[in-house]
């Protein structure tokens, strides 16, 4: 594992202060994997066996509605966590696709390695609390945004916080994430520029 990987992992797991000297077992657990553009990392009906940290690339988590439409739940990108967390945590088949929208490099650990972190390092309980709280608040905010904001307001809000990594993916995925048609998204983007 390179120093660059150490730095990505240490940043991802903030507010913990992770360094090789005190957390060597943690840094040694991770395995690097590559996914091609449009390759599936997880599929509905399969169990997601890994917890990921993204080195590079953009991944999209979505489900397929009965009429075939894609419903985008979210994205992961450089430095963020990735995976289908409910499938990973409960070891149950996923309801979602996790797709590499661009060529992707990820670091991963399996479920028993992930669980062992909480046994080896008591401070991971604190990390778990912080991350789950962030996740919960993030999901509630998104739900409120979808219920209360117009498509134009959702578009504006998204632009104000859109990370630069998402600029490299096809617009239709961003449109589906904002619960609007790709045509509406394209129109709004054109009027903005």
């Amino acid at each position: 594992m390179s120093e660059a990987h150490d730095s990505i992992l240490a940043n991802a797991f903030k507010p913990l202060e992770l360094v090789r000297k005190t957390h060597s077992k943690f840094f040694e657990m991770w395995e690097e994997v590559d996914f091609k553009r449009h390759e599936f990392i997880t599929e509905p009906g399969k169990i997601d066996r890994y917890f990921y940290v993204v080195i590079s690339g953009v991944q999209c988590i979505y489900l397929i509605a009965p009429n075939g439409d894609k419903q985008v739940i979210g994205f992961s990108f450089d430095g963020s966590f990735s995976g289908v967390y409910d499938s990973f945590a409960y070891e149950k088949p996923s309801h979602y696709f996790l797709e590499a929208l661009t060529p992707s490099k990820l670091l991963r650990i399996n479920k028993s390695q992930y669980d062992s972190l909480f046994e080896i390092y008591p401070e991971f309980e604190h990390w778990g609390r912080v991350v789950h709280l962030q996740l919960l608040i993030g999901r509630v905010n998104r739900e409120v945004e979808l219920i209360t904001k117009t498509s134009k307001e959702r578009f504006e809000a998204f632009l104000s916080r859109c990370p630069k990594e998402l600029e490299q993916i096809p617009q239709k995925y961003l449109a589906w994430y904002l619960n609007m048609s790709p045509e509406t998204f394209s129109r709004m983007r054109a009027s903005k520029s």
Binding site: P44, G45, G68, F97
Partner: protein, 191 residues
């Protein structure tokens, strides 16, 4: 008549569902040997029939895939008129009732005597279908990033019906889903 829209991701989801269900079907053991009535197929014969149906497309689909150009995934592919008509005939009605009997030509029939069915090893036949389902999924994953609609080939029904890869995969999948319903019905009457 409205044409069928084919979504590659939905096909992958449906194939995974069948792969998982096949493992549940395997646990029924000797029940798979039993015919619901004298003239009907046992579940293991239905499983073998699905493999024969799949194998009839292996050569043409592989040839077509090797000739397709790379492309970004399309949101969906619209099936042509005749493939749409054929695909639409398959889905079972609500509550698992199968709409009408379809005639099976001789080349697609699994020919087993009652004696053979009684003593044959079931697992290789189930594994054969499982491998076929994995291959079907690999075809979908492959055509998804190619210009799937650009190349047509004869279906297993002959040159009267021609498919592109997406249509062929949908046809095979719908055919399998219909026969999985038949197995469910078989097992319900026997349990």
């Amino acid at each position: 008549m409205a044409r069928v829209k084919i979504y590659a991701e939905q096909q992958i989801q449906r194939i995974n569902h069948l792969i998982n269900e096949l493992e549940e079907i395997r646990t029924n053991g000797n029940l798979l040997r039993e015919r619901p009535n004298e003239k009907a197929w046992s579940s293991i014969e239905v499983i073998r029939h699905m493999s024969i149906g799949h194998q009839a497309y292996q050569k043409n689909v592989s040839n077509a895939l090797s000739q397709l150009k790379e492309a970004s995934p399309a949101e969906f592919i619209v099936a042509k008129g005749v493939p749409s008509f054929l695909i639409k005939r398959f889905p079972p009605q609500e509550e698992g009732k199968i709409k009408f009997k379809m005639k099976t030509t001789k080349m697609f029939k699994p020919v087993y005597s009652d004696e053979e069915i009684g003593k044959m090893d079931l697992n290789p036949i189930i594994d054969e279908l499982k491998n076929g389902l994995f291959e079907l999924k690999s075809w979908v994953e492959d055509y998804r990033t190619k210009e799937a609609a650009s190349k047509r080939f004869d279906s297993a029904l002959g040159p009267i019906v021609r498919f592109n890869v997406a249509e062929a995969c949908e046809f095979i999948l719908c055919h399998n889903e219909r026969h999985f319903q038949q197995i469910r019905n078989n097992l319900k009457t026997k349990s």
